[in-house]
Assembly symmetry: C2
């Protein structure tokens, strides 16, 4: 199944993507849906029993961030082995982890606006969405706790990221990490077998990596994180970005006002975000 959070007029609901559009569910978003232990059976029942008249045509709805209210968004850096090895580095023993908050997330088609950084970079990523509470989990248990996968772009303010040793402040600007467009349930996609993660800027492919080369698989990351903190339904784990970020280019290349950023994983979908550079436009920075 492909699950989404959609808006029609003032109403926001969870929904199932079907061939002809979106079938709305009772839950207001996927966070509310996933909080029900039988969420998958609920959705499968709705899909089985629905009538065509219930389906909203795609052009009548706006597709939102599918999981807008996670309590935790935990991100892994330095995780694509082909990129690490091509940089001449050793593979890491432990995942490099950092945090975001729900406020950091954006809708799949949102404009991404920078008011404080002129060194804004792309990081296409596969995102894991948790489907049941998980703590001290083996990799097998962790895999079963994954509801599904979606697409993210861990848009990073490199100047802020490098102000100190800790990356957090360059990674946690509000409404800068687009997520979506749908959550594909874990029975339909297998990142360990390999899915392609691509980022294009103004149509040019800048990143293209395969999740089969992840040092720490999705299940391994969830298991590792669960050693120190409980993950709950609707929480999100970002699995890292492949080579090709702007910071690594010579000279470094960052997003310019009006740039079109597309982040794609076949079988899930594409995030399409226009970048807006508005440094100096707020009262505080003027």
């Amino acid at each position: 199944m492909k699950l989404a959070t959609i808006q029609q007029g003032a109403r926001t609901t969870a929904a199932i993507q079907v061939a002809t559009g979106y079938l709305p569910l009772a839950a207001r978003d996927l966070n509310e849906l996933l909080a029900a232990p039988d969420w998958k059976a609920q959705a499968e029942n709705a899909l089985r029993e629905h009538q065509d008249s219930m389906v909203l045509p795609a052009h009548e709805v706006t597709v939102l961030n599918p999981v807008p209210r996670p309590a935790k968004v935990i991100c892994c850096g330095l995780n694509y082995s082909d990129h690490i090895l091509e940089m001449g580095r050793d593979l890491p023993q432990y995942p490099t982890l950092f945090a975001k908050y729900a406020d950091t997330l954006a809708n799949p088609d949102d404009e991404i606006t920078s008011t404080a950084s002129q060194a804004v970079d792309w990081e296409a990523e596969l995102a894991v969405v948790i489907g049941q509470q998980v703590s001290q989990a083996t990799e097998t248990d962790a895999l079963h706790a994954i509801a599904g996968y979606t697409v993210a772009n861990d848009v990073s303010m490199r100047d802020w990221q490098r102000r100190t040793l800790q990356w957090f402040q360059g990674k946690a600007f509000d409404r800068t990490t687009p997520l979506g467009p749908v959550l594909v349930t874990a029975d339909e996609i297998d990142p360990a077998a390999g899915v392609q993660v691509t980022c294009r800027v103004n149509g040019e492919v800048v990143q293209s990596g395969n999740t089969s080369t992840l040092v720490f698989s999705a299940a391994r990351l969830v298991s590792y994180i669960s050693e120190f903190t409980t993950l709950r339904p609707g929480d999100i784990v970002l699995t890292g970005t492949p080579g090709g970020v702007g910071m690594g280019m010579e000279p470094p290349r960052f997003l310019s006002d009006g740039d079109q950023m597309e982040t794609e994983i076949p079988g899930i979908g594409t995030l399409r975000n226009t970048f807006r550079l508005r440094v100096g436009s707020t009262a505080h920075t003027r």
Copy 2:
């Protein structure tokens, strides 16, 4: 005012600490109280109009983490100038920030248990509690957005903290950062003028610093953070720890099973936490 979150039997409420005990309020905790724009007037009215019979004696209640449900817990490292200078380092231009989640927090008298680290260290800190939504704020506006202050200990798993460049995983173990015992409203305490932050282990003073030596004041931190993310009522900012952590000792000293950790700020109160070392006791690490 001194505000708390207390438990009596199965019931948890916000409360005002008074000379004879705790005056319960309608809100279930300080997160719910602070979410009301007129929270301070509500509390002042309750205090003015209460009768002695409404006050619960201190021995009948358990004092909990005053703000158990923050959406954000943002922490500053390397912030006490006397400690930075004595280490021969330059004062930083920008605050070093990292994140925790609500799950990281613990009650003021909780046992702190480590199941995965044998290098657990103390970090006594002044904690800021946000009282109104703040974004792109000047220092003056940021100061007005502070509801008050409480005591925290940013207990750190040094081995996990040092596994990678990012500290997060050593700082985000569930139920390891005690907070409390009360929130003292900002009209009653001024960290810029100086409050003493002390940590004792088994009665021995290991840390003692004064907030007048903070490189980034509480208001400056809130202003700086508000440049990239919105802070809301009940969110928490930890202001960093003075010199004297165990990692800096020769040889390094970490908490042992049964150690009594006390974290104190005069005018706010004392956290009293017994440390329990239980490495190898969980199914996963066995």
